[in-house]
């Protein structure tokens, strides 16, 4: 058989709970679903390989948002995230995370993942955020994926690698009925009927084009092409605050974190070209990114992460983390550039745009049980709307989703659906393989993402967005009618390109709907430059209604933890003021 030859074919299976995405949230969701009811049939579907998929493919250096008794309280954390996210937060879900995450830390500890402790045996939590202390290093963080994989094997979770889910099946009663997937190496279809489905498909990280021009040189794992966002949209689920883009401060060109969360607690800091601090706090918020952006454009730019003032032993310790975990090729990159942290600062830049609740707030809308607006459909991790929830949020909310999904599956039978939906989806997926002549997916993807950079990247301007929508619709037309896939690997990329275009359309639509500026750089609309709390202190929900993309407002739910008036704008005061 020739490499990646298209075999086609179709088989059907069924399960109680289907988890799609085996990165961070997914494995935990599958594990908890199974533990909730050991008789339940739980399937974990993954586009790559669960062993090494997702954002933590090479592990993680630490927890960014650990709420540990003695260091922080759930109330304090909820307050911090509410302020960091400009008040647009349903606190119930954040508060629940904050209450549950310590249990998850203990559980991860029992899986063999170590967390830094001080000489008294207490967790050595570090301060990076503006107000509270939540950063906990993981000395063997490179093993996190292996540790969780062992648990999956032990619990006998059925894992299907190299299957890309393309669409959800929706029952006649509006409930989720399962998913359709296609093998990325043979193009064989697998239809999975399920009583409950949990989407854990990561960020939309291949939306903007990295400035290097290398399409896969993204901040997020480049496999995270926003498939979960697109699938939720086509299933009729609501997506929240998509205009609150993800934009991160990264090592220029390498496009990975430098990383201030690791180096900051040792005394490293973000500096301008004069070697001076210009931001109060290195925690990634939209307000911080705006100051970063302003500094880059100012005469005091570019921006650097400065370590050279630190002791050699300290730098060695920082290197032992940065060059081993999360993005280990950082060391190779710096070596190639001739950058020694002891003598030279690391040049920083800002990333391409994306959707990601892990770092901002753009995600499929979920409540405090990880339920989407489609009955039986759940979402967790970077793609679900609980803001700023990072890796520990993915584990914790994945756990919430898994438990609740099994309860749902225990109380419902399979939803009836129209079997014609399968044939229709198969035809849609395979269309690029049926054409003799056309445009390959890489060109369509490149053009779409280049347009995202040209038109959708903040600062956002209405007329530019409208032009961007027009250009993107032309690319969509090419994608729908002229895209070709000559083998199953190219078909995988063709399907990802469709997710990317869906996300680009959603990014444009959501941004135009919110007629104000909010979240610093994430939603900086220069023709609506002010924050307008009177009209826009609300969530926005985007969804497909009668085949059309629509946006609506949703009230912010009453706060669980009150925020005093003089605390509300703490994150707006990021810029260091000149001292007298």
């Amino acid at each position: 058989m020739a490499m990646d030859e298209i075999v086609d074919g179709l088989s059907e299976v069924s399960c109680d709970v289907l988890v799609i995405g085996g990165g961070t949230a997914g494995p935990m969701a599958a594990l908890k679903a199974k533990l909730k009811n050991p008789k339940a049939n739980v399937v974990l579907l993954e586009k790559a390989n669960v062993k090494r998929s997702g954002a933590i493919s090479m592990g993680m250096d630490g927890l960014n948002n650990a709420v540990i008794p003695g260091y922080a309280t759930p109330e304090q954390y909820t307050k911090e995230i509410t302020i960091a996210n400009d008040g647009i937060v349903d606190q119930k879900a954040v508060y629940k995370y904050a209450q549950n995450c310590y249990k998850i830390i203990e559980e991860l500890d029992s899986f063999g993942i170590r967390f830094l402790k001080n000489e008294n045996g207490d967790y050595a939590v570090k301060k990076v955020h503006h107000i509270g202390t939540y950063v906990l290093p993981m000395p063997n963080g490179e093993t996190v994926k292996k540790a969780i994989y062992r648990q999956l094997r032990r619990a006998r979770i059925l894992i299907s690698n190299r299957y890309m889910a393309t669409r959800l099946l929706i029952g006649n009663d509006g409930r989720v009925a399962g998913a359709i997937s296609v093998n990325t190496r043979t193009a064989e279809f697998l239809v999975i009927k399920a009583k409950a489905v949990i989407l854990c498909m990561g960020a939309a990280g291949r939306l903007g084009l990295p400035t290097s021009g290398y399409m896969f040189g993204t901040y997020e794992n480049a496999a995270n092409s926003g498939d979960g966002y697109a699938m939720a949209y086509h299933a009729g689920a609501a997506l929240a605050n998509l205009e609150c883009f993800q934009i991160n401060p990264l090592i220029k060109d390498y496009n990975g974190p430098a990383c201030a969360y690791v180096a900051g607690p040792f005394g490293a800091f973000t500096a301008n070209n004069e070697g001076s601090r210009f931001i109060e706090c290195d925690y990634w918020s939209g307000q911080m990114m705006l100051e970063f952006y302003n500094e880059l454009l100012s005469g005091k730019g570019p921006v650097f992460l400065q370590l050279k003032h630190l002791h050699d032993e300290t730098i060695k310790e920082i290197e032992s983390t940065l060059h081993k975990v999360e993005r280990p090729t950082r060391g190779l990159f710096q070596k190639g550039r001739g950058t020694d942290y002891r003598t030279e600062s690391i040049e920083m830049h800002i990333s391409e745009i994306g959707f990601c609740s892990g770092h901002s707030a753009s995600g499929v809308f979920v409540d405090d049980f990880a339920r989407t607006t489609v009955p039986g459909l759940y979402a967790a991790g970077d793609m679900a709307s609980v803001p700023h929830n990072y890796m520990l949020g993915a584990f914790t909310n994945g756990s919430v989703a898994g438990t609740d999904a099994t309860e749902f599956a225990d109380n419902h039978d399979f939803a009836d659906f129209d079997s014609a939906d399968i044939a229709k989806e198969r035809e849609r997926v395979m269309a690029p393989t049926k054409r003799e002549d056309g445009i390959p997916p890489n060109q369509i993807e490149y053009k779409a993402r280049r347009l995202v950079n040209d038109y959708l990247q903040p600062p956002k301007v209405t007329r530019k967005f409208e032009l961007g929508q027009r250009r993107l619709s032309e690319v969509r037309d090419d994608m729908t009618h002229r895209m070709i896939a000559r083998n199953s690997h190219e078909l995988l990329r063709a399907l990802e390109t469709q997710s990317i275009l869906d996300c680009a359309d959603m990014a444009a639509h959501a941004s135009l709907y919110r007629e104000e500026s909010r979240w610093g750089l994430y939603h900086l609309r220069t023709d609506f430059p002010d924050k307008d709390n009177e009209n826009w202190f609300c969530h926005t929900l985007l969804s497909k209604k009668e085949g059309r993309m629509t946006s609506e407002k949703r009230e912010v739910q009453p706060y669980v933890v009150p925020i005093a008036d003089d605390e509300k704008d703490l994150y707006d005061k990021q810029r260091i003021r000149a001292s007298a």
């Binding site: 490499m3 990646d4 790559a48 390989n49 062993k51 090494r52 998929s53 997702g54 493919s57 090479m58 190299r162 990325t184 190496r185 290097s212 021009g213 290398y214 399409m215 896969f216 040189g217 993204t218 794992n221 480049a222 496999a223 060109d253 390498y254 496009n255 993005r327 280990p328 090729t329 190779l332 990159f333 190639g336 550039r337 002549d437 056309g438 445009i439 390959p440 690997h489 995988l492 990329r493």
Partner: protein, 77 residues
């Protein structure tokens, strides 16, 4: 429209002398998140078939014989 093939220098390099793919090993191909590695039908060794790399390292880290090296893609270097 006619298609042209496009030349690109790929970041992942496999040392054929060390690679044991011809003895049935598929570790690097299995773990790659972007699914860009394949076993050559001609040499029986692993190689990077698609230049779509996140320079993430599982292929190098998990290779049982140390045959795989991940370099930074040229455009980023």
């Amino acid at each position: 429209m006619p298609l042209a093939t496009y030349q690109t220098s790929v970041p992942v390099v496999v040392d054929d002398a060390k690679c044991i793919a011809d003895k049935g090993c598929t570790v690097c191909v299995d773990v790659c998140p972007l699914d860009v590695l394949r076993i050559s039908e001609m040499t029986g060794k692993a190689y990077m078939a698609y230049d779509e790399c996140w320079y993430c390292m599982p292929c190098e880290a998990d290779c049982p014989t140390g045959a795989v090296t991940v370099n930074i893609p040229y455009l980023l270097r």
